[in-house]
């Protein structure tokens, strides 16, 4: 049994601490925002905020997440989500979890990032549909507010 601080509440989970975090989040806690894309920390679709920092969950053990705050986009209520939605800055949407998490992590540190900073934050995240220009545009617009 381990204890996780997730989306503002402490949750007890029956698991061992060496299990990849993604399987605990998705299958035990029903947090489906976290997507399994590669299992190799190469695509970014499994990201969560860990103590406010974008962190991949597909290879790290859940034990590494104990005693830290985990946030997922289900409870995020971020203006980034609304901006991406209103800007139709998504195509299939499989990668968008990671992109929201990366952008949220950035905007919490720097509410007016420039283009280069936005791109640096998104660089670990793959999108196959080619929604990148819209995502960048929407985040630039948000940064200028």
């Amino acid at each position: 049994m381990i204890s996780l601080d997730i989306n503002g509440s402490i949750t007890e989970v029956e698991t061992t601490d060496d299990v990849p975090a993604i399987f605990v989040l998705r299958n035990v806690l029903d947090i489906k925002s976290v997507k399994l894309g590669c299992g190799l920390e190469q695509c970014g679709s499994c990201a969560v905020l860990l103590d406010g920092e974008p962190t991949l969950t597909c290879s790290k053990a859940i034990g590494d997440f104990v005693g830290r705050t985990i946030e997922t986009i289900e409870q995020m209520q971020s203006p980034i989500q609304e901006a991406l939605l209103q800007g139709n800055a998504i195509q299939c949407g499989y990668c968008i979890n990671g992109i929201i998490v990366a952008a949220e992590g950035l905007f919490r540190r720097d509410s007016h990032p420039d283009r280069a900073t936005i791109i640096r934050a998104l660089e670990p995240h793959l999108c196959r549909c080619g929604a990148h220009p819209r995502i960048i545009r929407v985040l630039m617009e948000l940064a200028s507010r």
């Binding site: 399987f23 399994l36 894309g37 299939c92 791109i119």
Partner: protein, 688 residues
């Protein structure tokens, strides 16, 4: 009387398309599916307009066997043209029938009726009646035979795409997110060779084997993944002994066809003398879905229900019945969104994998996912292509044009009516089902010869399609099929000819384009970009020579030291006829351009005798945020023309524009994709 759209001719019962619910919602049934291209939003806008209701009243029901109309495959940029037209007409009929009933109910003339969001009023009475009052829960009982007038060509309103809200909120809308009590997670163990020795898994997982088809399942996904990894690593298979020199193979034995009016015909292929000849190529390319293929299934009482993201569930259904040895009617398939597929990827194969596994464990839901490595190694790739271009020029004018394209099949989607079954698992079970021999497609604008016919008018045009029968790697439909390679070659070659003739690439193209709409997009893109000067290149095509027109200008930087190419700007001008969802259309055009950049700058499937070596995102890199140019798009709307499919329109023109921009930037013509720094150096050495 005007004929009905094809989908309505196939399914003419209005109740199969439209139903008014008692709560005022209107259900619209379609056989097409959301692939991330925003089609649900476009269908909703069309239905709302024709029914004179707010779009939030429309609820779409997509692709469920036995429930929605059978509309084949969601592919080829056809959904707006075919299903869009069918919905427009079905909803126009529904509206007319409702209004006739309203006129009787209110005892007023038909002409006096006014509809506002499904509520009918009249200038002749103060009474009102709603759609649900008249038809809520009641069938129309109408068999459609001909088309009636649709709503005028007014603009559709802009709405937020209807499938996006749950995605940004993290709701589990994808096939990977399906979950049932007591569900089993599953993975397959797969290799290209034949199984020699199977290493048994440890722990609480179960292994199911049928011939060389091996699945591992259990209630704990992490344990299943660990077991799959171990069984794969410690079992042994024979080497598939793949033939690796693909370009030589493409130049070898083939079946040649001459294109007559765009149709391949078996005729002697003339071998003209051409003073100017160039050869272009592209490698095998991956669809590269970000989410690995996945499907769920449950088998009980000799029936199976499958949830999957196949583009063609109706085609899949009889094949799965054959492999499982059950009646066709015992198979139900429900479409659930997957990650973007961009054509025929592993979505069909994994549906059979899940079905076979579920059949072995009756009464339990099984959710089976491919691993990232399997997605990279086993999806059917977009085939490699060689395009040999030739021309004769007289006084700077093109008199003879030759386009000779060789490739493997671009279409091996599983479909009934053939002896074999084109699904991976069917070749692995015991006894195995044969695969179908690839056959050349002889229709207009399919497969290898898609967009091989130039947009330009030349005196003498010779277009040859060469079908090469055996590919070392399985291949099938990748977004735009042959159009990507063909348009890359045509547009590169046009630039080479323009430069050879001392003409500017814009006027040189315009001279040979008769179609006023093609001329308009060409002019528009140049205007949008503010000219072609500098490190810029141009590309243009009309997709399939009958759908969306797209012209693209690309601007690049080429680093003199590293030979790295960076796209800085892309400008797109397009004409997709009547625009339904401008923002959705723009998103597709831009997404296609970015995907083409990724293909052309970075991508090639590598393999050796033992199999594919591009097994993850490090060994098959795709474009990243730091490599994304600014993209600017203009769409020329033709409200009175029919809508033209646009989802694949920019892939070819972007490829051409990129190659031409690279030449403009550094004077090196890259004819072999991808344009990596290594390739640029190689091309530079050749051109010295």
């Amino acid at each position: 009387m005007k004929e009905l759209p094809q989908s309505l001719r196939n399914t003419p019962e209005l109740d199969r398309w439209v139903a008014v619910r008692q709560d005022g919602k209107i259900l619209v049934y379609v056989g097409k599916v959301e692939l991330g291209q925003g089609i649900l939003t476009a269908f909703t806008l069309i239905a709302a307009m024709e029914l004179s209701v707010e779009s939030k009243r429309i609820e779409l029901v997509t692709a469920r066997t036995g429930i929605t109309p059978n509309e084949g495959v969601t592919a080829g940029s056809m959904s707006i043209e075919t299903t869009g037209a069918a919905i427009r007409q079905a909803c126009a009929w529904a509206r007319q029938i409702i209004l006739e009933a309203a006129s009787q109910y209110l005892t007023v003339s038909l002409e006096s009726l006014i509809v506002r969001d499904g509520v009918v009023s009249s200038s002749e009475t103060s009474d009102l009646v709603s759609y649900q009052d008249l038809f809520g829960g009641r069938p129309f009982n109408k068999h459609l035979e001909f088309s009636i007038d649709e709503m005028s060509s007014q603009s559709h309103p802009k709405i937020v795409r209807i499938d996006l809200e749950p995605k940004v909120r993290g709701k589990g809308v994808f096939i990977h997110d399906k979950s049932w009590a007591n569900m089993l997670h599953a993975r397959v163990v797969r290799s290209r060779g034949q199984l020699v020795d199977l290493f048994p898994p440890k722990g609480k997982v179960r292994l199911f084997r049928n011939g060389d088809f091996i699945a591992i399942c259990g209630t704990d996904e992490a344990e299943v993944v660990d077991a799959q990894t171990e069984v794969l690593a410690r079992s042994t298979w024979t080497s598939p002994n793949l033939k690796v020199d693909v370009m030589e193979q493409l130049k070898g034995t083939n079946e040649a066809f001459l294109l007559r009016d765009g149709i391949p015909v078996r005729e002697d292929v003339p071998d003209p003398v051409l003073e100017f000849e160039r050869q272009y190529s592209r490698p095998y390319l991956m669809h590269g879905s970000i989410g690995p293929s996945a499907a769920a299934a449950i088998y009980q009482n000799d029936r199976i229900v499958i949830w999957c993201s196949s583009q063609g569930i109706e085609l899949l259904k009889p094949l799965i019945a054959r492999v499982l040895s059950i009646e066709i009617d015992s198979v139900s398939i429900i479409y659930v969104q997957g990650a973007g597929c961009y054509g025929h990827n592993g979505a069909d194969d994994v549906a059979l994998d899940a079905a076979l596994t579920a059949q072995a464990i009756p009464g339990r839901h099984v959710l089976l996912k491919w691993t990232r490595e399997q997605e990279h190694m086993f999806e059917p790739y977009g085939p490699a292509m060689i395009m040999r271009m030739g021309a004769n020029l007289m006084g700077g004018d093109i008199t003879d044009w030759s386009h000779d394209v060789a490739s493997f099949t671009h279409v091996s989607r599983p479909a009934p009516g053939r002896p074999g079954i084109d699904l991976l698992g069917s070749t692995e079970v015991d006894p195995p089902f044969p695969s179908n021999e690839p056959k050349p497609r002889l229709g207009r604008e399919v497969g290898i010869h898609r967009n091989a016919l130039p947009l330009y008018s030349f005196e003498n045009v010779r277009v040859v399609k060469r079908f090469v029968p055996r590919s070392p790697l399985r291949t099938s439909a990748l977004r735009s099929l042959g159009a990507h390679g063909n348009v890359f070659a045509i547009e590169s070659f046009m630039d080479e000819l323009a430069i050879h003739s001392g003409k500017d690439p814009f006027s040189f193209r315009l001279k040979y384009i008769q179609d006023p709409r093609a001329r308009a997009v060409l002019r528009s893109v140049v205007e949008l970009a503010g000219g072609l000067e500098g490190s810029r290149g141009l590309g243009i095509a009309q997709y399939k020579n009958q759908q969306c027109y797209a012209a693209v200008i690309c601007e690049v930087d080429v680093n003199n030291d590293t030979a790295a190419i960076k796209a800085k700007n892309i400008w797109i001008a397009a004409d997709a006829g009547r625009v339904v969802d401008l923002d959705g259309l723009t998103n597709q055009l831009e997404g296609g351009a970015i995907q083409a950049l990724s293909w052309c700058l970075k991508e090639a499937v590598h393999f050796d005798e033992d199999g594919v070596t591009s097994v993850d995102w490090d060994t098959y890199p795709i474009i990243r945020f730091s490599e994304i140019p600014e993209v600017t798009t203009v769409v020329i709307d033709h409200p009175k023309e029919r809508s033209l499919g646009a989802g694949e329109a920019t892939l070819g023109p972007t490829a051409g524009a990129l190659g031409n921009a690279v030449y403009a930037a550094c004077g090196v013509r890259v004819r072999d994709l991808p344009m990596t720094s290594q390739q640029l150096r190689k091309s530079a050495a050749v051109s010295l």
